[in-house]
């Protein structure tokens, strides 16, 4: 029990106090800041090892899928192929083997194989999936923006006015009035600067307190779901 639960909890407490104490001492005691910088370097390395843990899981899952001929197994091959090609380019670049000198640029700025793959496979795929949002934001607005009650009405009216104020349409509608072309754009700015800031601020303050409270629970060993461990 000690090794499996107590030890991790004691470590959590000790390690958790380090940044708290160094934070308040950092500006007063010269040299203290070396502690967080060193520990952070360690943490980045640990996270690096964790990525490999994920890779192992993906490879296991894909191989299993292919071996058992599960539905869609050929796609596991394309996954493994992408992983193998890109991953090996990456590792070879890290080891600086043969033509793989440098990851995203060669010693004289030339295009590396890794960069070529990044530009023509990775970047377009990333941008394409990201841009699906333009479609989804439209369908979400159509489907979900129904005036069902007062709260929904407030949300929809605000969204509608802001959308209108962000285009030349918003300037056009009230053009007939003196200075009218600034009305809707001005209203948009007001919505963002006043009610939206108020809502965001309230959420941020509450969430920050919630996060700090969670931190304290973890440091004190009360919250331990991440260890899978139950309270005593």
């Amino acid at each position: 029990m000690f090794w499996k639960l107590r030890l991790p909890l004691i470590l959590t407490f000790l390690v958790g106090c380090v940044p708290v104490v160094t934070f308040f001492l950092a500006e007063r005691v010269p040299g203290v800041s070396i502690v967080p910088t060193t520990v952070e370097r360690y943490m980045v390395i640990i996270a690096g090892f964790a990525l490999l843990l994920g890779v192992v899981n993906v490879v296991q899952g894909s191989v299993r899928r292919i071996a058992q001929r599960r539905p869609g197994w050929p796609f596991a091959i394309s996954l493994l192929a992408g992983l193998l090609v890109m991953g090996s380019f990456g590792v070879l670049s890290a080891l600086r083997v043969g033509p793989f000198q440098g990851l995203l640029a060669g010693p004289r700025g030339e295009v590396t194989p890794f960069l070529w793959m990044t530009r023509h496979f990775f970047d377009p795929l990333q941008a394409a999936i990201f841009s699906l949002l333009a479609f989804y934001i439209a369908s979400a607005a159509f489907r979900a923006f129904r005036v069902r009650n007062l709260e929904a009405a407030l949300l929809i009216i605000a969204a509608f006015l802001v959308m209108l104020g962000r285009t030349p349409l918003g300037e056009y509608i009230f053009r007939w009035a003196p200075g009218g072309e600034r009305w809707l754009p001005g209203l948009t700015d007001w919505f963002m600067a006043v009610p939206n800031t108020a809502a965001q601020r309230g959420v941020i303050i509450g969430a920050a307190l919630g996060a700090a409270s969670l931190s304290l629970r973890v440091i004190l060993g009360i919250e331990r779901s991440y260890l899978g461990a139950k309270e005593r």
Binding site: V18, F24, G82, P124, A127, A128, D189, A199, I205, I219
Partner: protein, 210 residues
Amino acid sequence: MGQVLGLWIGAFLTLCVFSFLYRDNPFFRFAESLFAGISLGYYIGTVSANTLAPNLFRPLFRDFPNQAHLLIPLLLGLNLYCRFIPRIAWMARISLAVYIAYFVGINMVQKLQGEVVPQIGATILSPWGGAFTPLDNLILITGVVCVMVYFYFSIEHKGPVGAVSRLGIWFLMVGFGAAFGYTVMGRVSLLIGRMNYLFIDVVRATRQIL
């Protein structure tokens, strides 16, 4: 040539992704699984070339006596793999505990110092005045307080507290609506970028080599 070939590959993959809008299909499935593999490979590359090689292995091999302390993260990192050996699987928890504990400590002070204090400070305003109307500050202050009350957990929300928290919800709704409407433009820009790529960049590059 390599450039144009690359553009055509990118265009094909973009169309594969867009085909998902119609329905799930083998082209999307191909692009999606290829992307999963390539992206993992990408991070294997960046992690090994930008983190593990320069920050761990090279210092350890080149200057072991001075860099021996790097054995600590090395061991903690390797320790994660104990998960694969059932008898000592629990040992992986130690690395997790250390990792989480450190960041949880950082988050605690950062949230209080970097979020609560400045946000409260910025709300201590004279209620009369504002950039748009003379009531802006008053509305802002009311909104912040009402939303904070909405998040109060340990009293029941009825009577005056209920009324204030209801007002808090209204502020949240207006704020969410405005943010939603405001974001549309940025998302459309992303699509403009892709249309540009498909119908202007690729076409132009192809025309050049023909």
